[in-house]
């Protein structure tokens, strides 16, 4: 009985496979239909080539004796959509978004200024970043800034810089930007992977994150919400910025950077729009990160420059992390003593 069932099952699977195979012809079914329609048309209405003309704008592969990718496509109409989106919504909204971000940060700085320590520094240093972490961070940061600046030159330079510096100079600048972008891009992808590996451990959900969200990070009232090594704002930047946008920008960028894999124009048009939109959001968020890491928070830049922060800073900004260090839960680090030049001023 069991064998009969097994046999029946095999027979059913085999027949299902045959049906499926019969339904997936090697020829594009739509094109086969048009060819059949054309043959029928010649019998019923000789000289009427309506089915031929229906295919002119289809973007389908036709026949040409010339070798090359997509040479057999007569008209590829999607390029018009790409042009409209790139020159239209993407660059107009994208450009204004960046302007708004810059203005909001400037307004925030004007209202709040740099956030100082409320208590005097103790002079005792706590290690915040290892040398490896700092190398990875700065390599990624330099690559990111190079890519952001060169990308903005390629997207907005025609409207912003070209009228100022003229055709020849701008062409040189754009050529430099293009090559910088294309060669630094893959470096950034590698840096992003290293960044993920280096920082993922301390960017998981921890107790205290919920409170941080509830209080909006204390950004508006100016209070300090206790957090672990990274607060929820930093974690959001890590997951949405470094990881998600990093993957989107990286994958779409590689599709465009290596056109030698027979990818079609349609693929590159989509990749370009995805790359452009994600990159603008990425740049906008990075401005926030750069602000907080430099002028926004007193001592933040020093932590990534030297790897050390003052105990007061650690206690004020990352209290849970500081408590863990004091309790000996987090190892003190590979560098026993901070370098002398990083003594508090």
């Amino acid at each position: 009985m069991r064998r009969t069932i097994t046999r029946a099952g095999v027979a059913l699977l085999a027949s299902a496979w045959l049906v499926a195979a019969a339904q997936s012809p090697a020829v594009d079914p739509k094109q086969a239909d048009l060819a059949t329609a054309q043959a029928a048309q010649q019998l019923s209405q000789p000289l009427n080539n309506q089915p031929v003309w229906k295919e002119v704008r289809s973007g389908a592969q036709q026949y040409t004796s010339l070798p090359g990718r997509e040479t057999s496509v007569l008209i590829q109409p999607e390029g018009q959509t790409w042009r409209a989106v790139r020159n239209g919504q993407a660059s107009v909204y994208g450009g204004w978004l960046l302007v708004v971000v810059v203005l909001s940060i400037a307004a925030y700085y004007w209202r709040r200024g740099s956030i100082p320590l409320s208590e005097p520094p103790t002079g005792r240093k706590v290690r915040r970043f290892t040398t490896g972490e700092r190398v990875i961070h700065w390599a990624t940061a330099i690559a990111f800034v190079a890519l952001a600046v060169s990308g903005l030159v390629i997207l907005f330079g025609k409207n912003v810089l070209l009228p100022l510096i003229g055709y020849t100079l701008f062409s040189w600048l754009a050529l430099l930007a293009k090559n910088l972008h294309n060669f630094v891009g893959p470096v950034f992808v590698v840096c992003t992977i290293l960044m993920f590996l280096a920082f993922v451990r301390d960017n998981v959900w921890q107790q205290g994150d919920a409170e941080w969200i509830r209080k909006g990070g204390g950004l508006l009232k100016g209070e300090h919400v206790p957090s672990h090594r990274f607060n929820f704002g930093e974690k959001s930047w890590f997951w949405f910025g470094v990881v998600f946008l990093g993957i989107v920008v990286g994958v779409s960028g590689l599709v465009l950077d290596f056109p030698n894999f027979e990818q079609t124009r349609a693929t590159m048009q989509i990749a370009n729009i995805v790359h452009l939109v994600a990159a603008i959001v990425f740049i906008g968020l990075s401005l926030g990160h750069i602000y907080m890491g430099t002028v926004g928070v007193d001592g933040a830049l020093e932590s990534m420059r030297s790897g050390y922060v003052d105990e007061t800073w650690a206690k004020e900004h990352h209290e849970y992390w500081y408590n863990d260090i004091k309790a000996g839960k987090i190892p003190a680090g590979d560098e026993a003593e901070p370098p002398m030049r990083h003594r508090p001023a």
């Binding site: 048009l34 060819a35 054309q38 043959a39 048309q41 010649q42 019923s44 209405q45 000789p46 000289l47 009427n48 080539n49 309506q50 089915p51 031929v52 003309w53 295919e55 002119v56 036709q62 026949y63 040409t64 004796s65 010339l66 090359g68 990718r69 040479t71 057999s72 496509v73 007569l74 008209i75 590829q76 109409p77 390029g79 018009q80 790409w82 042009r83 790139r86 020159n87 390629i154 025609k158 070209l162 055709y167 020849t168 701008f170 062409s171 754009a174 050529l175 293009k178 090559n179 294309n182 060669f183 893959p186 950077d257 290596f258 056109p259 030698n260 124009r265 590159m268 048009q269 370009n272």
Partner: protein
């Protein structure tokens, strides 16, 4: 001022690729680049049609709109040309063009493409007319010599026409009149022919078509 146009009469094109060869020869075009190509729709099916296609010198050219260094310009005759000294080889014109006109000598890793090359309507580039430099970058400037594009001039069946758009329109209109039927795009035969019947008007026997 004349507005330059290409027109390919698909009723006449025999897919000989003479236009492609004429273009390559005239401008000394390197391997791998074909400024013009012939595409056959429904190849091998009765009623198949071939069309020779190159840069169409659009009024609102997408390549021109997306070029990040603004290297394209339009002559008074409506020919879309570009400056290879400014071109950075980004490939955006190639993404935007519906006709696949912009070509690159390379398609390498890290987006290395070289300077874009495309049909110039035999009108050269920004350099002095018929100078050595202009020929090296863009090929011959036949328009400056008072000649029309080599592809159209060489076309054995006069399917491919190139020149003043008004003149081309008159030639094509005359052809349609003599044939007694329109470019089937307009559905003339669809409107007047009936299944199982001869077409409303057969092509004129021995007539000039």
């Amino acid at each position: 001022m004349a507005r330059m146009k290409f027109l390919c009469d698909a009723e006449r094109c025999i897919e000989c690729n003479g236009c492609v060869t004429a273009c390559k020869q005239e401008h000394d075009i390197p391997w791998g680049v074909n400024r013009r190509r012939v595409v056959t729709i429904n190849d091998g099916v009765p009623g198949e049609r071939s069309i020779s296609v190159a840069c169409m010198h659009c009024s609102d050219a997408p390549c021109m709109a997306v070029c990040p260094v603004d290297c394209f310009y339009k002559t008074e005759e409506g020919v879309v040309l570009h400056d290879k000294d400014l071109c950075i080889g980004c490939g955006y014109c190639f993404y935007a063009c519906p006709f696949g006109a912009p070509q690159f000598p390379q398609t390498g890793a890290f987006g290395v493409r070289g300077k874009m090359d495309k049909c110039t309507f035999c009108a050269g580039g920004p350099e002095a007319n018929n100078s050595e430099e202009e020929f090296r970058k863009y090929g011959r400037n036949r328009l400056a010599e008072g000649k029309l594009p080599a592809c159209a001039e060489m076309c054995s069946t006069k399917a491919l026409l190139g020149g003043d758009g008004d003149v081309l329109a008159d030639i094509y209109r005359q052809r349609v009149t003599v044939r007694g039927r329109g470019g089937d795009v307009w559905g003339w035969a669809t409107a007047y022919g009936q299944p199982g019947q001869a077409p409303a008007q057969a092509p004129a026997k021995g007539g000039k078509s």
